[in-house]
């Protein structure tokens, strides 16, 4: 994990962003429509929404880190997100029939969503570790299956393709939320944001200091070293993939019940590529949880920008361009600032264990 390479990327990305803003500033007269836009964009509401939109991408990224550092390519994270989002909505809608309502129902739905994601991850893990499935294709397959399951189940169970549910709303931390700027952004937010703020350092800590975390890291670099230490490589790989299932599950479930309160099941679904953005985020962040979340924030930043600009009013730059801007930025960055140190044994099935 070369710290200098990661730092270099951040500088590059930051410079890119600043350059874009600077260019806009130069081109755009204050007081005009765009000028007002620029001003409104750089405000507290924007920061809050960025943080909120970061959640699904960041959890996908954190999940991906665990799987890949254990040596398993997990392209199908998008599928985990879709499945957990879908499940959460279904359960949240159905629980009232069983007499469970209110916040309890929402949290239960959240939990079930995560569990289903873990179940899917378990199946993926077995196929890939035990049955040596082609990891890239299996991951794509998981995603494609999820893309099909979502509308199928939704149409079967509901009349619309985008059922709605309640959301968690926001939690306010007393006192701290009164702080200027930081207060409303960090301390008056959806519980999923708090989960992210906790999960990120936890992930970093786990990889660095816990026994399992270290074994996961060893597994992706040199599984033989692990095997000669008497540890089962398969078990560690299972653990990595299952953990990615948990984290992705939180991302997907949190996205629906924590934020948007709905799930569009058709086409690319509400998730709309955020799982892939997560993958790119951790590649960009060199498998470091903090850097990966930073990358996720970058994408969420553009995402949120687009929404805000739409709100402001007629603007010449189409929303779609903003939608693809994160992908473009990332593609450019990954190409020019290469040197992502990929785990040495990534994607190689481990022989020598039955």
């Amino acid at each position: 994990m070369s710290a200098t390479a990661t730092a270099r990327r951040w500088v590059f990305a930051g410079a890119l962003v600043l350059a874009v803003l600077a260019a806009l500033r130069l081109v755009v007269p204050v007081g005009s429509v765009p000028g007002r836009m620029l001003a409104s964009v750089l405000d507290v509401g924007y920061a809050s929404s960025v943080l909120r939109l970061t959640v699904p991408i960041a959890f996908a990224a954190l999940g991906g880190i665990f799987a890949e550092r254990a040596g398993v390519i997990n392209i199908g994270i998008e599928g985990f997100l879709i499945v957990s989002a879908l499940t959460t909505v279904i359960v949240a809608r159905r629980l009232p029939w069983a007499g469970v309502t209110g916040p309890a129902a929402l949290w239960l739905a959240f939990l079930v969503g995560v569990l289903v994601s873990v179940a899917v991850a378990a199946v993926f893990a077995v196929l890939v570790v035990r049955y040596r499935s082609n990891q890239v294709i299996a991951g794509l397959a998981v995603w494609l299956i999820a893309l099909g399951l979502a509308p199928f189940i939704t149409f079967t169970l509901f009349d619309s393709s985008s059922p709605t549910i309640d959301t968690f709303g926001t939690w306010s931390v007393p006192l701290l939320s009164e702080l200027p700027v930081v207060g409303p952004v960090l301390f008056d937010a959806s519980p999923t944001v708090y989960m992210l703020l906790v999960a990120t350092p936890l992930a970093w800590y786990a990889l660095r200091y816990t026994r399992l975390g270290r074994r996961i890291r060893a597994c992706g670099e040199n599984p033989k070293a692990l095997a000669t230490g008497g540890v089962s490589v398969s078990r560690v790989r299972y653990a990595g993939v299952l953990i990615s299932g948990v984290l992705a599950g939180v991302g997907g479930a949190g996205f629906t019940v924590g934020q948007v309160g709905t799930f569009v099941a058709v086409g690319q679904t509400s998730i709309n590529g955020r799982g892939f953005l997560g993958i790119v985020a951790y590649l960009f962040g060199n498998y470091n949880p903090f850097a990966a979340v930073g990358g996720a924030m970058l994408f969420a930043g553009f995402d949120s920008l687009q929404l805000r600009l739409q709100q402001i009013g007629a603007l010449d730059i189409p929303a779609e361009l903003f939608g693809i801007l994160p992908f473009v930025v990332v593609l450019v960055t990954i190409t020019l600032v290469r040197r992502t140190r990929v785990p040495a044994a990534l994607g190689e099935p481990y022989e020598g264990e039955e």
């Binding site: 026994r211 074994r215 890291r217 060893a218 670099e221 040199n222």
Partner: protein, 518 residues
């Protein structure tokens, strides 16, 4: 006399191949014992038996007087046997501390945190006691450490797991001379505390320096066990290499070759995959009608040298010329077009596509030019004829060109590869380990063919770890050691003992008569 390790009558068979044939070895506690022999002598296999990676086909292992039946390295470790492999089992981006404790980590706080403090205390204590000097480096990622330091991490790893017997597999292969001295110091420190050391090596000089006792293996058998103190280098060389001479193939007088230099290498320098200099300042010229053999133990730069000459790898510096024309900047395909034939050391990865049948493999390297490739199309009829011709002439069995390469035995694969390459009517032939893993009959056949190339006026360069082979074939012999040629001698001038010494990095007492020399 306290025997720490006793191997009795160990035989290990893999299908038809007998890797160890009734080998005995006893090692006294608190001593250093060297296991000496050429490539393929069976040293690593024997130690893999001791370390639990293999079950012996026959024979018994005793550790500390107790019968040992290891099913896995874990059993061996539990019995106090630790192994330091030639290719370190380290996770490079992780720290020294993390590597040492991998799989054995103590935990605190109900399993939530590895007890780094405890690891540190133990490791520091061990480092102190055995003079390993890593106490200050526990936080350093292993990839930042020198090879010598990494090796010491491996030693600490074994100590941390409670090893009493340490097996080192070719420990000096990756070390600088200073690091080698430090390693031998560590041996002393370990044995001073009653630890037992066995190290595998092909370098007899080191065996004499560092070991108390030496067991010599050759072709799977134990040919001798001696005390280092009373033994000379020549005696060891004789044991290692033996006086066995294969049938002397009929050949024209040595040194009878043309005047023109067909292959010339000047001041070649090549870096290997790790970024280390593997070939340094190599010069050699091969004339038409001459065979120059490169003798040496694997890993002294022969492979990068061959790769650079044949265009598989770029050289860092120096020139390669075919028939006077500089090819150093030319691509692989261009070199092939200029009359190069290359029999590589790794037939399974390079020379053959294992899933392809022999017809498809027959055109590998010539697929773009006549008679096989014309204007972008491949003439499979011609390819099939060619495959059949090679199969026929080189007696490849089974003689079915539609079989995938992977279904042939190693010897037949090699015969096919040699046949394909030599049938190009090449000007320059580079053959690396041409008879590795090949049965006797095929070996002789391949040798005959190489000599035939020589008759036809090609410049032939042969690299081999087998001294017999090199001596048999070569008009001149260059001995390669640590990236350069220590000497180039006429084929029949040097005795095997002298060559063995040169290969081991030693200089023979009586210099070899130069004759034609470089």
């Amino acid at each position: 006399m306290d025997t720490a390790v006793s191997l009795t009558d160990i035989t290990k068979r893999f299908d038809d191949v007998v890797a160890n044939d009734e080998v005995d070895m006893q090692v006294e506690r608190g001593t250093v014992h060297a296991l000496l022999g050429e490539n393929g002598a069976g040293k690593t296999t024997l130690m893999n038996v001791l370390y639990g990676l293999y079950r012996p086909t026959a024979g018994e292992v005793y550790v500390d007087g107790d019968r040992a039946e290891f099913d896995s390295p874990q059993d061996a470790i539990a019995a106090g046997v630790g192994m330091i492999h030639q290719h370190f089992m380290l996770v490079e981006p992780m720290t020294v501390r993390e590597n040492i404790a991998l799989g054995w980590e103590p935990v605190t706080h109900g399993g939530l945190k590895t007890d780094d403090a405890r690891i540190d205390t133990e490791v520091r204590e061990l480092s102190e006691r055995y003079g390993l000097g890593l106490a200050g480096d526990l936080d350093t990622p292993v990839e930042q450490l020198s090879m010598g330091a990494r090796q010491r991490v491996e030693v600490l790893k074994a100590l941390y797991r409670g090893a009493d017997v340490f097996i080192f597999d070719e420990p000096t292969a990756v070390l600088t001379p200073q690091e080698v001295e430090e390693l031998f110091d560590i041996f002393s420190q370990l044995t001073a505390q009653d630890k037992t050391i066995i190290f595998i090596t092909h370098k007899l000089g080191e065996a004499l320096t560092a070991a108390d006792g030496i067991t010599v293996l050759r072709d799977g058998e134990r040919v001798g066990t001696v005390d280092a103190a009373g033994t000379t280098r020549e005696q060891l060389a004789e044991l290692m290499v033996g006086r066995e001479v294969l049938l002397d193939v009929d050949r024209a007088a040595r040194g009878a070759s043309g005047d023109d230099t067909r292959l010339s290498v000047s001041d070649l320098a090549v870096t290997d995959d790790r970024g280390e200099p593997a070939v340094q300042g190599v010069d050699i010229s091969v004339r038409g009608g001459e065979i120059v053999g490169i003798a040496g133990v694997d890993g002294n730069g022969q492979e990068p040298l061959v790769e650079a000459v044949t265009g598989v790898r770029d050289a860092d510096a120096g020139t390669v010329r075919f028939d006077g024309e500089a090819v150093t900047g030319l691509s692989r395909r261009e070199r092939l077009d200029r009359g190069l034939a290359h029999v590589p050391g790794d037939r399974q990865e390079q020379a053959l596509v294992m899933e392809f049948d022999l017809v498809q493999n027959a055109v590998l390297g010539s697929q773009h030019r006549p008679p096989f490739g014309r204007r972008g199309r491949i003439d499979w009829g011609a390819a099939r004829e060619h495959a059949e011709a090679v199969i026929e002439e080189y007696d490849v069995r089974p003689p079915n060109p539609d079989l995938p390469a992977r279904s042939l035995s190693g010897g037949n694969q090699q015969k096919f590869v040699v046949g394909r390459e030599l049938s190009r009517e090449p000007d320059v032939v580079v053959a690396a380990h041409p008879t590795r893993g090949v049965d006797i009959g095929s070996k002789e056949f391949i040798h005959e063919r190489l000599l035939a190339m020589r008759e036809q006026g090609a410049a032939v360069l042969v690299v081999s770890a087998s001294l017999d082979e090199v001596v048999q074939l070569s008009d001149r012999i260059a001995v390669m050691y640590e990236g350069s040629f220590v000497d180039v001698v006429p084929g029949d001038a040097a005795t095997e003992e002298q060559l063995g010494l040169l290969m081991a990095g030693e200089q023979p007492d009586e210099p070899v008569p130069t004759g034609a020399g470089r």
